[in-house]
Amino acid sequence: MALLKLIEIEFLKLRRRKFVWMMMFSALIMPFLAYLLFKYAWNTGGDPVQFYKWSAFGLTLFIILPVVLGILSTMLMYNENQYDMLKQLWIVPVSKMRYFFSKFFVVLIYSVCFMIVTAVGSVIFSILLGDIAFDWQNVLFLIRKCLEIGVITAFAMLPILAIATTQKGYILPVSITLVYAFLGSIIVSINMYLHPLSSMAVIVARNGDIPGLNNTQVISIPLAFLSIFVWGIVSVLLANVALARRK
């Protein structure tokens, strides 16, 4: 219950930050660009999965969502540091791990909402495009994949949240976020199980249902989950140590 209360408080704090809600608009960037590309540059032949791959499963998954979540995590942590609120929170007292997890759940919920916006945007733009037949089965497929991406990416971003807890400033976590997202998209071609973001791609494209993603390496779902799990555990431990040191 205490955790639920903390999460509620986090959301109340977010209400006043317009920028967080403005970042939601970046969810529509890829659907819009995909719309432009398919309208003027290529011909899909009416294949909705190709369109969705561009609008929701491609760069949104590798770059946009990680960068947005990284910035959000940094902002969440930076808020309290900026006004020296942590001292008062420890006096209340708020459990340090609960504090960390309340922030994590905000990231998780935000990430899921973000992907839902992407999914809705993709559907709207695919209707605008005209040559893709509107079909419930495809839309359900899109929404299911988007929810998967939203949930798993939040876990894959745990390392950034942990780094943000160790830092007083915001610049290092943000720079690391950029490098982290970049590394995730590049490392896919080398070894998919080293980096949480590329492991996430393995899980999302597990049955080969997203064309063009990971068809060169052996797919192993347990290994991908293990990778995300190990990174997650290490980051939670790191955050625990960092918060315990903060007086």
Partner: protein, 242 residues
């Protein structure tokens, strides 16, 4: 102006941000190197002469460096407001537009230095791998390309930095806008006209990374000049407000 530049240089020395930016640049170089180790039918990309130097610049530009440079610039401008030093500066009095220009000049120098650092890393890696195959002409061509990249990327993002200094306290917005701004370059690079018009890809047309016709280079110059003009208008507007 000289005093302002000197003061900014003194301030930046104590800033840990510079180290973080260097860290980001080095990491980008490492990641691109890693991606070059992949096997393509028995030939690794990294074994191709010039591959590393050629590929590092667009990848770094589309994903990381412009955002880092914009963050550096807007942070330097916004921190005066945030740490309440701007009041003391106004008392002196310092011309705020001039102060901003001084900060932008420092950002420009940093931008060029980051690209030169990237060049140094890629060059020494290439030299270590296959020194005998490198020709002086090729290395000079890349050096010129990196120098121009550093200069032109600053020009391309200058409106964003100016806008942020206008809004105050908005470095987050600078970061997000620049990241997407550079990221859209990935798409504009597919079309020949857009490639020359869009400021981020125009940088590569000018630096010689793309094979471009004279008219495309002209278009790119116009597009970058437009960016500088926009930045100048914003800064001039700021000066008038005071």
């Amino acid at each position: 102006m000289r005093t302002l530049l000197w003061a900014e240089r003194q301030k930046i020395r104590r800033l840990s941000f510079v180290w973080i930016a260097i860290f980001a640049t080095v990491m980008v170089a490492v990641i691109v190197f890693l991606s070059g180790l992949t096997d393509n039918d028995g030939i690794r990309d990294i074994d191709t002469i010039g591959w590393y130097m050629a590929v590092a610049q667009p990848l770094a530009t589309f994903f990381v460096l412009p955002a880092v440079i914009a963050l550096l610039g807007s942070y330097m401008i916004c921190r005066e407001e945030q740490e309440h030093t701007i009041e003391s500066l106004r008392l002196i009095p310092v011309n705020e537009a001039k102060l901003t220009i001084a900060k932008m000049i420092i950002t420009l120098i940093c931008s060029i230095l980051f690209y030169l650092l990237l060049f140094a890393i890629t060059f020494f890696t290439e030299a270590a791998l296959h020194f005998s195959d490198l020709s002086i002409g090729m290395v000079m061509k890349f050096l010129k390309a990196y120098l121009l990249d550093g200069l032109c990327i600053f020009l391309a993002i200058s409106p964003i930095i100016a806008l942020v200094s206008h809004m105050k306290n908005g470095y987050w917005i600078a970061l997000v806008i620049t990241e997407f701004y550079s990221f859209i370059g990935l798409f504009t690079s597919t079309s020949n006209t857009l490639k020359a018009l869009y400021p981020i890809t125009a940088v590569f047309t000018i630096s010689g990374y793309y094979d471009a016709s004279i008219s495309q280079v002209m278009l790119s110059c116009i597009s970058l000049l437009f960016c500088v003009g926009l930045a100048a208008v914003i800064l001039a507007g700021m000066n008038k407000c005071k």
